[in-house]
Amino acid sequence: MNRTKRNLILLFSSLGLLLLWQGIAKSVDIPVIMPSLGPIFRALGFLAGGPSFPLNLLATILRALRSFIIIVISGTVLGLIGGRNQTVSLILKPFVTTLKATPVMSVILLAFIWFSSGSVPLFSAFLMGFPVMYLQIEHGVRQLDPNLGEMCDLYDIPPKAKLFYCALPSLAPWFVAGSKATLSMIWKVVIASEVLTVPRYGVGSRMQLAQVQLQTDVVLSWTLIAIALTALGDLFFEGVVSLVVRTRSTVQRRRVDALLKRF
């Protein structure tokens, strides 16, 4: 399917979703339960123009990014080890399986009992996001083609070249998929933690406040912002992947062109 057709379908399906919302809101006709699109977007505009908006947004983004960096580093390192070493994989398995099956709210509530409120989003996001990243990398390592590894060894390809030409490019899709899934999980957990712990600044805190005051349109506006954060995260990764692929292709093509000119 070409790009234009794909984008058109996405546009129409998104419009369909908005129309469905508007239709239900009109039929319910109780703004405090189901506000229509107009008040939601007005509330969104009002929020975005407010003086504390950047502070709330930044606080949530920083919490999420801090968790994300810790998870990506620890999940990648342990995933690489676990993928190659069955003992490490088995040691981590109960931990990872338990975390995968634990409800997000249980983790947040327990974290709230055990730690100060400031540490709850970080701790909860780590416990929920780590298995996602770890499992992707571990699976990626196991999917590495042993035939290619054998070829590299037989042809005496130096370790550095093997890493950059074979291992890293093969693992990159798993790393990107893991990072995307982890980041979208982190947004949800961090915002849920903020709702419960109500730090001074944060998207979740504002949502909680709006919910107490029965400002459904404001709750939905913050929700839209949370959705936008997840979408921006995905776009960022897609952009990085596309940039890396294009740069790599250009560099290799230039080398070939330069070579053909010389010989």
């Binding site: 037989l154 042809y155 390809i157 490019p169 080398r255 070579l259 010989f263």
Partner: protein, 233 residues
């Protein structure tokens, strides 16, 4: 290269039992045999990928290049880099460029240097693998049915490309195939495996490769003999 009293078994299956043979330098030895007869094991022993249970594999040749059943190209780098990267341990950049280009040109891949493996046809991918095998500074070449998955026209084309490169710089070669015609057209000698103790057949072909014709009575007789041995098994 010399196999002396080599024994190798997988579980209860004895592949080689005090099996011996010597490889003549700078010649091609075709190896045929039934499935499970030890063709791939022989190559893996020769490459040093596995060790014999007993006996010795002596190798006068230093480096080994291997042409696999499948091309085994690095999927994330282009044709050019797929060959160049295998020379990094041996040559400086300038020399690598010259050698890689030389063999890719001989393999008729000069127009496709910037393409990635997924952009190539099966035959083109195998041609890159052939160029890579020859570019590698190996004295021993091991070929594990590298043309088997290709149609007859492409197969003959690649065999021709292979022999052109081989004649340019002769290397000691073991060519494993299940195709008796291919074995006779390419090999200076044909070894038929099947018995763990000794080859079922070990014959030299004295007709120059360039003059070989599948309709030659001597070659037809040899093929019939091989066919008889392999169908008997």
């Amino acid at each position: 290269m010399r196999f002396s009293n080599v024994s190798k078994a997988y579980g209860g299956h004895i592949v080689f039992d005090r099996f011996s043979f010597a490889l003549d330098p700078k010649t091609i030895m075709s190896v045929v045999g039934p499935s499970g007869g030890g063709k791939t094991t022989l190559l893996r022993l020769a490459a040093g990928l596995i060790e014999p249970d007993s006996g010795t594999v002596e190798k006068d040749e230093g480096k080994v290049s291997f042409l696999f059943q499948e091309p085994r190209l690095l999927p994330h780098v282009n044709v050019w880099a797929n060959v160049e990267v295998t020379l990094r341990a041996f040559y400086e950049q300038e020399e690598r460029n010259r050698i890689a280009l030389h063999y890719l040109e001989l393999a008729e891949m000069k127009e496709s240097l910037h393409l990635y493996p997924h952009e190539l046809s099966g035959g083109m991918r195998q041609r890159v693998a052939i160029a890579r095998a020859f570019a590698h500074p190996a004295e021993l070449m091991l070929l594990d049915e590298p043309f088997q998955s290709l149609d007859i026209r492409l197969r003959m084309h690649l065999i021709k490309a292979f022999l052109t490169l081989w004649e340019e710089e002769r290397r000691t070669t073991i060519f494993v195939t299940h195709d008796t015609k291919e074995a006779i057209l390419i090999g200076d000698r044909v070894l038929c495996l099947g018995d763990p103790h000794e080859p079922w057949m070990d014959e030299y072909i004295n007709i120059p490769r360039i003059a070989r014709d599948v309709h030659d009575p001597a070659l037809m007789a040899l093929e019939a003999k091989l066919f008889g041995l392999l169908t008997r098994s």
